[in-house]
Amino acid sequence: MSKYLLRRIFMLVPVLFGVTLIVFGLLYITPSDPAQMMLGPNATPAAYTQMKADMGLDKPFVVQYIRFLFGYQHPIFGYKGLLFGDLGRSYISNRNVFELILSSFPNTLILAAGALFLALVIGVPIGILSATRHYSAWDMVFTVFALLGASMPVFWAAMVLIYTFANNLRIFPAMSNPRDFMSLVLPIVTLSMYSMAIIMRMTRSSMLDVMEQDYIRTARVKGMDEKVVIFKHALRNALIPVVTVAGLQFGQLLGGAVLTEKIFSYPGLGSIMVDAIYQKDTPQILGSVCFIALTFTIINLLVDILYGFIDPRIKSTFGRKKAKPAAARSRA
């Protein structure tokens, strides 16, 4: 198990390296001029050249990228580099990039975790219900809801929710912050809709598939109650693909909270990223995107570990030594 983990963690290195290269490359070719922005419109050409050199923007791409990874020495614009967890200060707020990220990330995490929780708690049971009664009226109703949930644009859903529950009914506030539970309800609901629809459909189709398997027939032939057949024999098998999807969804929720956070004026990483992009705040953009990429890969790793608990076939490939000789012995 630990060997497998080490290998997986080792494999993260090239992935993250690739991500930083792409993000850095994209920002490099985008037409933006931080030096000009820092100085304002009335700067002299000499001051502009000096500023460019100070910020390190006069160097070729490769040099800039290596500096981005390993650090850059300068009294004002210097930083220790991405590898040492330091990208210097935001051009706009002048706060340390990663400090800002780390202070806002928990807020985003609350939203994403809440949304995933809601999606699972509602999506999985409905998926099971749809599968066990497939082609019933309920199944049709839920299918329509899932379609709506998956195709409704976030901004529109958010606006409808705000209009109904904040403006008209005045149950929940339209502006959200992490310290007020009631204010979290609308953004979490907004954010979870898409994931809920996906998880519901995934659970349904996976359940339908599993219910046709021979081992389900075996369970019935043994005289097991239908409840046991569904929840013990079928569900655990059906959840395997659902866990994958949920993991991917969680990654997307963390990154995709951007719109929701903006609409509900929520102080999360998404808001910070959007502001940074609008203001061409390069260090902040780079830091945020790399941070989200890292979280995404870590979540994928956690999902893989979770698999092992659900599916014994995977656990044994983690290196339970008993499996191989046993299979070999029985053939003899």
């Binding site: 005289g223 655990r236 076939r313 044994s316 499996a323």
Partner: protein, 327 residues
């Protein structure tokens, strides 16, 4: 003697868009306690469908038992409540499926899969149920400490032994063995059959032994029934049928046995195909392939004819028919 299983006029159909598969057609079959009945027939004859019907496990909406009665130990299976059915399944009647590779749940340990059945039917504690599971595994030659292992950690032959242990864990009165060894290679096949034979003899279990192989029937069964297009066309003791097969289809099956004494003689399959179960002929179902087909065979569906306790569904044996022409 009181029969353990009595099936009368059973009709089972599968419905799909505009097509109706007539899988079992007016089938009669009896089984006495402690007997092993071999059921032979080519693929699609309806053998698995018959076995599932005995457990009332034909699944709606496609499948439906349309007519007939099935009584197990005097009780009408088709009118049992869900509850009664669940008590019967796994306890009184157990089934072994065709494919051991897919019959076990991949996420539950084999011990758990046996123990839960025992727990459900035998009113034991969890520990006792696990103990019984381990004993059953031992009986089929699997060390008790492997009870915590998962199906993927076993070979095909071992899996089938687990399946047998599972089926016999509650000492069923009737075992439906649906080609229990087809998926295994020959040496393991022999082992598994030996094992089944011993367990069955020891417990006095009655068995419906479904197979494609007449050889296995001769070795393992007391009686044999030949199934063709959803009905039993011949039924008798091993001596009767192997001594003198009456139905042309059974004769064909014997003809298609490879003769081992003559190395050059090829397997001789019966010419033609089984009739399409969605469009069965009005007369005898075997008539299109029968070398002895007569006018009456096209017109009328044959009834069971009793030839000294040996039943055959063929016009050749009608009293007024041409029994003398029999080869």
């Amino acid at each position: 003697m009181e029969k353990i299983l009595e099936i009368k006029d059973l009709e089972v159909r599968y419905y799909s868009d505009r097509k109706t598969v007539r899988a079992v057609n007016g089938l009669d079959l009896d089984l006495s306690p402690g007997k092993v009945l071999g059921l032979v027939g080519e693929t699609g004859a309806g053998k698995t469908t018959l076995a599932l019907s005995i457990l009332n496990m034909i699944r709606a909406p496609q499948g439906k038992i349309e007519a007939g009665s099935i009584s197990f130990a005097g009780k009408d299976v088709l009118s049992m409540s869900k509850h009664e059915l669940r008590d019967m399944r796994g306890k009184d009647v157990a089934m072994i499926f065709q494919d051991p590779m897919t019959a076990l749940n991949p996420v539950l340990s084999v011990g758990e899969q046996i123990a839960e059945t025992v727990l459900k039917h035998e009113g034991l504690t969890k520990d006792q149920a696990w103990k019984r599971a381990e004993e059953m595994l031992l009986t089929v030659g699997i060390p008790a400490e492997r009870s915590k292992d998962y199906p993927h950690q076993f070979s095909g032959g071992m899996k089938q032994r687990v399946v047998i242990a599972l089926a016999l864990a509650c000492n069923p009165k009737l075992l439906l063995a649906d080609e229990p060894t087809t998926a295994l290679d020959v040496t393991i096949q022999a082992q598994v059959l030996d094992l089944m034979r011993t367990l069955i003899r020891d417990n006095g279990t009655s068995v419906l032994f479904i197979t494609h192989s007449l050889g296995l029937v001769a070795e393992n069964c007391d009686e044999v029934a030949t199934m063709y297009a959803g009905e039993i066309v011949e039924y008798g003791t091993i001596d009767q049928v192997f001594g003198k097969a009456l139905h042309p289809y059974t004769q064909g099956l014997f003809g298609s046995l490879p003769d081992l004494s003559e190395a050059t003689k090829r397997l001789k399959p019966i010419p033609g195909l089984m009739p399409d179960p969605t469009a069965l002929p009005a007369g005898c179902f075997f008539e299109p392939r029968c070398p002895y087909a007569m006018e009456v065979c096209k017109a009328a569906h044959p009834k069971d004819i009793d030839v000294g306790g040996h039943l055959v569904k063929c016009h050749l044996f009608d009293k007024e028919g041409g029994a003398g022409r029999k080869a």
